[in-house]
């Protein structure tokens, strides 16, 4: 029997003998593997990014919003002709009665024109209270945040993001200046520090005003969200139940609000992004399948190019099994080289992404790398079954007759 080392050596010689063909095949395979690695790294990076963002907010957070989104036993209000009851500021204050709750921040949000003299632009406006800063861990650039006050009292003060400050007060100190938001005037008392994008809000472009002022400005008595911070992480679930009960009592027994823990939101995001990673990985795997079909083509061409050689090998004592093994080894070597080069390409791609977006934690999950390499090997070898068999079955008489 032929020694395994000899099979490898002989196949390597035939791969190096047909250099262009080999290089092209390796590139095709490498692009497939590289694509899987880079795309899953992007997906995984997105997942990690979101998870990081959430955990930077603190993990003992509960979010309350009006309307029921979970499907429960009760008939949705919509079907019986009732719109969900408003989530009011009084509801928000009532939540504080739970002994597990340390802080709350009511949230009202809208979009308005901000103008100062001739300068104006549209920006998201957030109505909230003093506590919001601590719950969201916002940094201040200059000046101060909304002061502690009765949340039901409207005040004409605002805090603006850095981009807004630069655009509306070019080369000026905004603090103490007046700013028109919608049809009202607000005095700027602080500028937010640069924290960048966080949970969909770009804090650089945000204007924050007292929640009661926002309710008047947007003529919207219902709150958008109530952020609730609990004492401990362990008391999250009890707190959630208490909040639900308090609000149910206040709403005449109707459960018309949704209370979710941040963990639940995080888990959902986690699930969605994991699925996304799988999906893009799968799409990239198609290119691997294409590479596999290319391998088959090239191996078939190789068989017809090398009929004389195959015939000769048979004449000097190679069995069908040996011929098959030789062609298999060749395909396996091709796939292995392609996989290795592809991993290199993928690693380089990830490095480049990290250079361009340093904040984005792109990293290929190990399972994806393993899957890519395995798929490459599998496609390479399985698509070479046919060519190898064809080579083995070749009639040596006919093979040798070709000159």
């Amino acid at each position: 029997m032929m020694q395994p080392g000899d099979i490898l050596r002989f196949s390597t010689r035939s791969l190096t003998g047909f250099r262009t063909r080999t290089i092209l095949m390796v590139i095709a395979m490498a692009i497939g593997v590289g694509a899987v690695v880079v795309l899953t790294a992007l997906g995984e990076g997105a997942r990690r990014y979101v998870v990081n963002e959430f955990s930077s907010l603190g993990t003992n957070l509960i979010i309350v919003f009006p309307g029921r989104t979970e499907t429960g036993g009760n008939v949705p209000g919509m079907l019986v002709g009732r719109s969900p009851r408003d989530l009011t500021l009084e509801d928000a204050v009532a939540v504080l009665r739970s002994r597990h709750v340390t802080r709350i921040a009511p949230l009202n949000i809208g979009s308005a024109y901000l103008s100062r003299g001739r300068l104006s632009r549209e920006a998201p406006v957030l109505g909230t209270t003093y506590e919001f800063r601590d719950i969201r861990r916002l940094e201040m650039g200059r000046g101060s945040f909304l002061p502690p006050a009765d949340p039901t009292k409207a005040q004409s003060i605002c805090v603006i993001g850095q981009t807004l400050a630069e655009e509306l007060f070019p080369n000026e100190e905004p603090i103490g200046q007046w700013l028109r938001i919608g049809d009202r005037r607000f005095r700027v008392i602080g500028v937010l520090g640069s924290k960048g994008r966080s949970l969909g809000f770009d804090t650089d472009e945000l204007a924050i005003i007292p929640v009661a002022s926002a309710q008047q400005l947007f003529n919207q008595p219902s709150l958008f969200r109530i952020l609730v911070e609990t004492r401990h992480r362990e008391s999250l679930d009890t707190a959630r139940e208490e909040i639900r009960r308090i609000l149910k009592d206040r709403h005449e027994g109707d459960e018309d609000v949704t209370v979710v823990t941040q963990d639940a939101v995080l888990a959902t995001f986690d699930r969605i992004l994991r699925t996304l990673t799988l999906a893009v990985g799968g799409i990239a795997a198609i290119s691997l399948a294409v590479a596999g079909i290319l391998t088959m083509n090239v191996m078939l061409v190789a068989v017809s190019q090398r009929t004389a050689e195959i015939g000769l090998l048979k004449a000097i004592g190679a069995s069908r099994q040996q011929i098959r093994n030789l062609f298999f080894a060749e395909a396996a070597l091709l796939s292995a080289c392609g996989a290795i080069v592809g991993l290199g390409l993928g690693a380089a791609g990830i490095l480049i992404i990290r250079q361009i977006y340093p904040a984005f934690p792109a990293a290929a999950p190990l399972w994806a790398v393993a899957a890519a390499v395995l798929t490459a090997a599998l496609t390479g070898v399985s698509f070479s079954v046919m060519p190898a068999r064809r080579a083995a079955r070749l009639d040596p008489v006919i093979a040798l007759a070709k000159r």
């Binding site: 029997m1 032929m2 020694q3 080392g5 000899d6 002989f10 010689r13 035939s14 190096t16 003998g17 004389a308 050689e309 015939g311 000769l312 090998l313 048979k314 004449a315 000097i316 004592g317 190679a318 069995s319 069908r320 099994q321 040996q322 040596p396 008489v397 040798l400 000159r403």
Partner: protein, 226 residues
Amino acid sequence: MISLAGIDRIFQVGDQTVHALANVNLEITAGEYVSIMGPSGSGKSTLLNIVGLLDRPTDGIYKLDGRDVTGLSDEDQARVRREKIGFVFQAFHLVPRLTALENVAVPMMLAGIGINERRRRAAKSLGDFGLGDRMDHRPSQLSGGQRQRVAMARATIMRPPVLLADEPTGNLDRASGHEVVGLLEQLNASGVTLIVVTHDPELGQRARRQLHMVDGSIDTDDVLQP
């Protein structure tokens, strides 16, 4: 040594059946020097391929060294070819990307012989064929005569008792042709059974036993008395 009894070989070409060999009976004893001559299509190459186990007869029994090899499995036939039969082709059939030394070593590689012994034996054999200084050349860097000598070194490296040559001088000039024939006859003189297929009468008539084939049958079988 070689015993063919009632060998038929029928090819199906389109809807025509071609009787390439019809009831061939042939006995060749060890150490003989046989030439097979005849016009194209007379079946001489088919006969050689059957003797070399590259082709299977449609009917009949082929015994090699007293053993019926007609119905052997592919694996066993490959072994017989490896150990008992050496081929020399008109077109040399060297592997172009391998050096002369590596080409000679291929049969040993297929037999699973270790690389060091392969190198040693292949180098010695090439030296015997006068190619000691051409071992690391590729076939494209060798002349026709040199290529055929590499092919002969390869055919004999496993020390087979039978050597089959199909038009061994067909692609060579006269001088190289003579050289190759001389080497083949030397091998025969050392005891190897030599069967040469040719339509060159000058080459064919050098053999002590001359077969003439016509239409798939052996027409004449002359043995020269020394």
